[in-house]
Symmetry: C2
Subunit: 413 residues, 2 copies
């Protein structure tokens, strides 16, 4: 018998009926004798309802009290799911972050998990109970309630799985797995049976929205097999694991598209040491995340310096750089949000040459101009004019033969 | 500077605006330099919303999970009130029952407080913070969430006041104090400036709904001065304290009316030892609370045995007694829910004779027939036909001169 940690998000537990459906799903595994831990989010809509109340009483609610407020959302869900399980004859027990002792640091609203006490959960599992855990929350060393920030319930599930040495951590979402690319753009996109942690991290970072990058990193660090699957349809989803020799390595696993970035170019910068720091220093100090960076080799002692940032930060970034441009004696700042980033990801790149060539050739054949290029060990990203975004994705999906049918790997159960 | 524990119920914190109004009230005392602890209930309507969700997922929710669910109600309020206080420049910090360490027994949904750790609260008060505490909830020795049952937030406030050795515990409600009787029945009813714990306990037990009897008993036991006042209107309310020599003792403090009782008579019972036990044993085993008990002296070896119980339990009580009546060879069971109980309460009874005579004479003058009589050291209760309930209350209010104007005692502040 195996130990599974399952996580159900806000949509999956959005109504009493859906909570009952989750109970039925969990009951199947529990009745097979598996040890089951279930991590849940707040019912969809609840967090916004609470934030709205907070906004009515305070212009700037303290993050400590906001965490006290928001953590009630998951607490409601754990009680309801435990009741629903017991109602169909499955013994269950709920735990808040505080009760499990999910200890975090004291950074309210984006706390990081430091430790989890597994003793009590193991005792319940030994007695045949399903343990229902509130996601997204913990307590600091002084028992103040903390929350983990975006995607926090995924992180709770992975951390529980690591602490309990679970056989698998299953993230139930509203999609049935990880695809070679967005099926809304490429109808032939294939669901992947398996993918490595590294690839998933690169895909998440490049714009794929299935999982928060932080929980995948956590799973990779503790080598917790992670399965993404749908809470609404049947299927084995996608298993995210360590790269192992038995895994057949496809050249490319997936193609990610991000439209959330903007490009900033500082033109006519004197080409001398320290330019990158002068420009990017103020940007990173303002907590604006810089992704791709390109500096052309200058002519006439002048160069252009280009980088990408989240589109939402474009205006603020321009303001920050106005004085820098003046003090550097640079010509001008150009902001451009009409671009898309397309990334090709695959561990196969490590051992295969020519991926970049195939990519650039395919884009060129369609007349798509590449603006910027950035590479990592298992990823190549390019930016193109946003009008070409879908065409570029479809072109690359075809160029790397990702639309082929693949056999479904049996679920290890 | 004094230490006050204030409690605001569900109606007082029912909306964001009302929470802001409570913050303004608390801020006045805090700015005067008083040490302030505020205990709050769930926003009105919230508990029912949560119970409704529970009913949707389970036919018979476990009391453990119901406590996990319901305790979120007060947790939302403590966060919002702390935010509202901070928003007007008053430093505040919220605590759940678990965080304060309000330790209770493990009887879910009607737990009793065993201990409270005051250290952390005192540290916050020393640093000039208002401490906002979730009422109605605690944790058992294994950190399972418990709730205290009806009127639980009042009990939390009194227990906090006892643990912190507060100068006064103030219960804010939707009435402006304790009255000599229900002003809806007797418009001349007077608000009492002071009343003793004992009197308040008897009045609560006899049907006055201002305070739950349990919290008054708790306050009396630990000698915590308790003040009942309105969160909607100005005023000093009613102070409930120990009887002391400086207090002018009125003969009668108040008259309570209860319409929630029913009378059960077992007729033609053989008059022999053990009758009371044979009849009341099964009733109390079924957790039906028996109030007044009357056994007439029998003639011909037969007697009638009469007692009162909550009206809601009448049908169940009859079912329970059917076999008992048969085995005793009694004639029949008569149930009667057309009665009202009127109680006259006052510590002055201890030292004054003739109260009962005055009471019976006044009722007799109006042609009101007394059915049953029961007395305690400071209380006389009678039951009458419910049609005479209001008339009886008005008659007694006048007979004991309770409608006179009294001077308002200054609030010790």
């Amino acid at each position: 018998m195996a130990l599974y940690v399952e996580k159900y998000g806000g949509t999956s537990v959005g109504t009493a009926e859906r909570i009952q459906a989750v109970a039925e799903t969990v009951a199947v595994s529990a009745r097979q004798g598996h040890r089951m831990v279930v991590v849940v989010s707040a019912m969809s809509g609840e967090t916004n309802r609470l934030l709205d109340l907070a906004a009515q009483v305070s212009e700037q609610p303290s993050s400590r009290e906001q965490d006290v407020l928001l953590s009630t959302g998951e607490q409601v869900t754990i009680a309801l799911l435990s009741m629903a399980l017991e109602n169909i004859g499955v013994p269950a027990k709920s735990y808040t972050g505080s009760q499990i002792k999910i200890i975090t640091d004291d950074i309210h609203s984006k706390a990081r998990i430091q430790s989890i006490e597994a003793t009590r959960v193991n005792a319940d599992l030994d007695e045949g109970r399903v343990v229902v855990v509130a996601g997204f929350q913990g307590v600091d060393s002084e028992n103040n309630i903390t929350t983990l920030g975006r995607g926090g319930s995924d992180t709770t599930a992975v951390a529980m799985a690591a602490a309990l040495n679970a056989d698998e951590c299953r993230i139930y979402t509203d999609v049935d797995g990880v695809y070679t690319t967005d099926p809304r753009i490429v109808p032939e996109a294939q669901k992947l049976d398996r993918i490595t942690f590294e690839e998933m991290i690169e895909l998440s970072g490049a714009g794929a929205k299935v999982l928060q990058i932080r929980s995948v990193e956590f799973a990779g660090k503790y080598n917790v097999p992670l399965r993404v699957l749908s809470s609404f349809t049947e299927g084995f989803g996608t298993l995210i694991t360590d790269e192992d020799s038995s895994m057949e390595q496809p050249l490319i696993s997936g193609i990610a598209l991000s439209r959330d970035e903007a490009k900033v170019t500082v033109r006519g910068v004197p080409d001398k040491p320290g330019i990158a720091y002068s420009i990017l220093g103020p940007v990173s100090e303002a907590h604006i995340i810089v992704d791709m960076i390109v500096q052309n080799i200058g002519t006439d002692g002048l160069t252009d310096f280009t980088f990408t940032i989240p589109r939402a930060d474009l205006d603020r970034c321009r303001e920050l750089l106005e004085p820098v441009v003046k003090s550097l004696g640079a010509a001008e700042i150009i902001g451009d949000s009409d671009l898309a980033k397309i990334s090709v990801v695959g561990v196969g790149m490590r051992s295969h040459a020519g991926i970049a060539t195939t990519m650039f050739e395919a884009l060129s054949d369609k007349g798509i101009n590449i603006q910027m290029i950035s590479t990592s060990e298992i990823k190549i990203s390019v930016t193109v004019d946003k009008e070409y975004a879908e065409l570029a994705v479809r072109t690359l999906h075809k160029a790397f033969d990702l639309g082929e049918e693949k056999n479904i790997t049996a679920c290890p159960d």
